[in-house]
């Protein structure tokens, strides 16, 4: 095997050196009846050339990857500057372990410190961690953290949070005694319903909203924060489309207590759903309740600045079952990619890309809404996603659009909501050219005509 340095001869010599005669003897401590007698029935070894050919062939069967696409709903196709992938491909970054030895890990540590700072700046919060697995698990951890902070058991969530995020929270809280309670979406605005908020009470640990929400509608986060705080609950805000931070008032500025987000939009490929990166930020006073790793500033004996993993007593390797979370491996390299993306785009770039997304989505929404038979059911302002109501079943319509027009037109909401057979969610980003948008509009028109 070409990845194993020692040749068979060298290995024989080494066996000899440790007093063994054969490789089998290395496994003498394993009871004989547990030793495999047959080779594994996994595939035989293939060469680089063959692997590339077979992988290309497999990838070619992912026809959706080749088509213009208007899919969003938690995974967004944004342009990633070439230097992002180039820099994360430096082996000093991607073949390093978690920075437990700060003297020889300052590259990783400083990058995480910058990541934490950027997350704070974007979310408007005081402190951010070194990353969570993704947005959905970050949300689950936020709910658990709210329970720890408030010692209350009821959590109210907008039902317009990403349905898969809600499922993940359901899983995480199932043995935690948390009552995770969904409230309705206003059928007209697409925002969390006013009545739903009435269930906020002094047993409520947290109110959870997503903004822009799953339907693309921008919640009035400031008002929701006030409502939550009025009963002593925390406001948790989830963001799936982090490019929106470039345009929308930050949750922190609106009064959120915990902000979680999916950072995939920051230069990370959609890659069939992962690896992505969860952002997690909160207020200073909750810093010691935060899950996951934190990097902090430190000095050496000569007063030189460096960075270290800190507040480790929150974590499982020290606190074990009393840790704030079980997370260990996080999404370091993806957080690095997001950091490089954000620093490359910079202050102006993030604003420009956010504005382009909003503009293009507005154009697309207007064009579709002008089509005979199509409507936009929700009235609230939106960022770059919006729900379209088709005159026919959305699933069939989109599948014809794919096969006949070679366009992935969006997500049929029936995947998650059986009561929305004709609705689909359209996402537009800076990578969708006007030509693509016009083709989508024309395609819908022709298929319905």
């Amino acid at each position: 095997m070409r990845y194993i340095p020692n040749s068979p001869e060298e290995r024989a010599e080494m066996l000899h050196a440790v007093g063994l005669n054969s490789a089998e003897e290395l496994f003498a401590s394993i009871p004989a009846d547990l030793l495999l007698r047959e080779p594994l029935r996994t595939p035989a070894a293939i060469s680089e050339m063959e692997l590339l050919a077979s992988s290309e062939a497999m990838a070619a069967r992912n026809t959706a990857a080749r088509r213009p696409s208007f899919l969003g709903a938690g995974a967004y196709s944004h342009y990633s500057p070439t230097i992002v992938d180039h820099l994360i491909s430096r082996s000093e970054f991607f073949t390093a372990y978690t920075p437990y030895q700060p003297e020889i890990s300052q590259g990783t540590l400083q990058a995480i410190f910058e990541f934490q700072t950027l997350v704070c700046q974007l979310t408007g919060m005081d402190v951010a961690n070194a990353s969570m697995y993704d947005g959905s698990t970050a949300l689950a951890e936020a709910v658990l953290m709210a329970e720890r902070i408030t010692r209350r058991k009821k959590v109210i969530t907008s039902s317009a949070v990403h349905p898969e995020y809600l499922e993940v929270v359901d899983t995480y809280v199932q043995h935690y005694g948390v009552d995770f309670h969904r409230v309705d979406t206003d059928a007209e605005t697409g925002l969390i319903s006013a009545e739903g908020l009435n269930s906020l009470d002094d047993q409520t640990a947290a109110l959870v909203v997503q903004s822009p929400n799953f339907f693309g509608c921008i919640e009035d986060v400031r008002a929701l924060a006030e409502r939550a705080h009025a009963v002593g609950a925390l406001l948790i805000v989830a963001v799936t489309e982090s490019i929106s931070f470039g345009l929308l008032r930050s949750p922190g500025a609106c009064g959120a207590d915990i902000v979680v987000a999916e950072g995939q939009s920051f230069g990370v490929p959609v890659s069939f759903g992962g690896p992505f990166v969860g952002l997690f930020a909160t207020r200073d006073r909750f810093a010691r309740q935060i899950p996951g790793r934190l990097v902090g500033e430190a000095v050496d004996k000569q007063g030189r600045r460096g960075f270290v993993l800190t507040l480790a007593t929150r974590e499982q390797h020290i606190r074990r079952e009393k840790a704030t979370s079980n997370i260990c491996t996080n999404e370091g390299l993806i957080a690095l990619a997001a950091t490089i993306y954000l620093e490359t785009m910079g202050r102006q770039g993030l604003q420009e890309v956010a504005t382009q997304c909003a503009q293009k989505a507005a154009y697309c929404a207007r064009r579709i809404s002008e089509l005979e038979g199509f409507s936009l059911p929700f009235s609230a302002p939106r960022f770059n996603e919006f729900v379209v109501r088709a005159p026919v079943g959305a699933k069939g319509l989109l599948s014809r659009l794919a096969s006949e027009k070679e366009i992935t037109g969006g997500l049929a909401l029936s995947r998650y909501y059986t009561d929305r057979p004709n609705d689909f969610l359209v996402c537009v980003t800076e990578t969708n050219s006007r030509q693509e948008i016009d083709a989508l509009v024309e395609g819908l028109k022709e298929l319905i005509a």
């Binding site: 401590s29 990838a59 951010a128 499922e167 995480y172 499982q316 620093e343 785009m345 382009q356």
Partner: protein, 510 residues
């Protein structure tokens, strides 16, 4: 970088002084360019009212050119140790070679640009890949049910432990698991095990290890006597690098007590192609694709922590499952007994691509060869160090070996010092102070990716440090001497944490 006295006037190399990007930022610098907006512009107020828009102009976000970014990250990258620079003998971490080929495969546009919500018929390649990886992992572990959804080892643990709960409820009636709440975990276990058990609502009870480094069977029997045991979480080979030779008996005891056995598969690099958890009587395990299957650790992640279980437990795996349906592959959401979803979408797909590439390039013979080489390398290091370091357990180690600082500490030189001194010799230190039950533990896992010359260099370095500990302890205590910065004051950092950069004024105001 330490400098000899005659050159103290030299400003250290600029690459050693790279500041935070925020300190480099200059108003008006730009590192990006977008195509011009190609649609008719709508007045922004009509899209998003001003009250919902940012009003801080993203102040504080950096403004730098592309060149600044490239130099910034290239420079700070040189402050890292990495596998490509040399042996990385972190015990329990399996820092093996990360194939460049696998990186290339994961970046094939048909994989990288595939949206997770693409219709199944348009994502057949990805579903097939997941399915094939499931099949291979099933064969490797001897366990029938595989879910690739968990994002890391701890996530896989949580999944597995929740499956145990769900199974107990299904077996003994709803709510049964609320009574069977004890999860047994050896004192040598990794911290994620108790944390994951806790997250799943279990109460952790700790099992002692014997003086020989194995699970104490008597203690296990004792703890199993109360009828409240839901399961046992065991690492095998355990975190001392020893194969739990009584594994079958252990499983029998737990099963008889009505519990299930969870195996932490972080140490599978000692077993692949040689022995299978499924054959040992284990019910459910997780794997770390970012250890055993060489997906790069990335300075902390991402990982992928598949949960693998027996046929009996399969109905409880997270949804959706990827199944084969004739010639096609599809997502199966219809699993009423499932514990639910543990992550949005399908898990860390990019890691799956790499892991399957690992399995395919190794082939079945290569997988075993890697295991043999990994165990041999550990044995070789064990052999090379016993003369100078205390080896607390007599048994032959598998893929990793634990030593202690017992002899050196008599001179005031402790594990931390030895580790730091190893840096001066050009090596990344081993895992230190883990497992917690071994005082001054040094857990060494060379992996198969190191050649004999470098193992010999490592052994020589360790022996030299042992000599230094006697002859010149100060040098060891002050190590590392050859790095850009010395040991950092971690206690002070935790006392008054500075967790983000702030502009000068803001920082001093705070």
């Amino acid at each position: 970088m330490s400098q000899s006295t005659n050159i103290t006037k030299a400003a250290p190399h600029i690459t050693q002084n790279e500041s935070l990007i925020f300190e480099r930022s200059q108003t008006g610098r730009k590192g990006y360019r977008l195509p011009p907006l190609d649609v008719d512009e709508t007045p922004l107020d009509e899209i998003v009212p001003a009250a919902l828009r940012r009003d801080d102009d993203l102040a504080g976000m950096p403004e730098v050119s592309e060149v600044d970014v490239v130099r910034h990250f290239t420079r700070i990258s040189t402050w890292n140790y990495s596998i490509d620079l040399g042996m990385y003998p972190l015990g329990s971490c399996t820092m093996k070679y990360n194939s460049r080929l696998n990186e290339k495969v994961a970046r094939i546009p048909g994989f990288a640009n595939l949206h997770p919500l693409a219709p199944e018929e348009d994502a057949q390649g990805a579903l097939q890949l997941i399915y094939e990886l499931q099949e291979s992992l099933s064969e490797i572990t001897g366990l029938a049910g595989i879910s690739l959804q968990p994002a890391a080892g701890a996530h896989g643990e949580m999944t597995g432990v929740m499956i145990i709960r769900a199974f107990i409820d299904a077996r003994d009636g709803a709510g049964a698991s609320a009574k069977r709440r004890t999860m047994l975990i050896p004192d040598s276990a990794h911290g994620t095990n108790p944390a994951s058990a806790n997250l799943s609502g279990f109460t952790v009870k700790t099992i002692r290890s014997t003086a020989e480094g194995f699970t104490d069977l008597d203690h296990l029997r004792e703890l199993c006597a109360h009828g409240d045991v839901a399961g046992l979480m065991l690492t095998n080979p355990n975190t001392l690098g020893l194969f739990e030779k009584n594994i079958k008996e252990i499983c029998r005891i737990v099963h008889e007590a009505g519990g299930l056995v969870y195996m932490d598969g972080a140490n599978m690099n000692a077993l692949v192609g040689v022995a299978r958890p499924g054959d040992m009587g284990v019910d459910v395990i997780h794997l770390n694709l970012h250890k055993t299957f060489s997906t790069p650790h990335g300075g902390g992640g991402p990982g992928c922590g598949p949960c693998c279980c027996t046929k009996e437990l399969e109905p409880f795996l997270p949804v959706p499952r990827v199944v084969k349906d004739g010639e096609a592959f599809r997502l199966d959401f219809d699993r009423p007994q499932s514990i639910g979803r543990v992550k949005a979408f399908h898990g860390n797909f990019g890691m799956m691509v790499r892991a399957l590439a690992y399995i395919q390039t190794h082939g079945n013979d290569g997988l075993r060869e890697a295991t043999e080489a990994a165990v041999l390398n550990a044995r070789y290091v064990a052999h090379g160090l016993t003369s100078d370091y205390d080896k607390p357990f007599a048994a032959d180690p598998m893929h990793e070996v634990v030593f202690t600082d017992k002899r050196q500490s008599r001179k005031g030189v402790h594990t931390l010092d030895i580790a730091k001194r190893l840096i001066d010799y050009g090596f990344h230190p081993m895992t230190i102070y883990f497992p917690l039950i071994v005082q001054g533990a040094m857990l060494i896992e060379p992996t198969e990716s190191v050649g004999r010359q470098e193992l010999d260099q490592f052994i020589a370095a360790m022996r030299s440090i042992a000599r230094e500990a006697v002859e010149d302890p100060e040098t060891v205590l002050g190590a590392p001497h050859t790095t850009r910065i010395g040991r950092l004051d971690e206690a002070a950092a935790a006392r008054k944490p500075v967790l983000r950069w702030k502009p000068k004024e803001a920082a001093s105001a705070a």
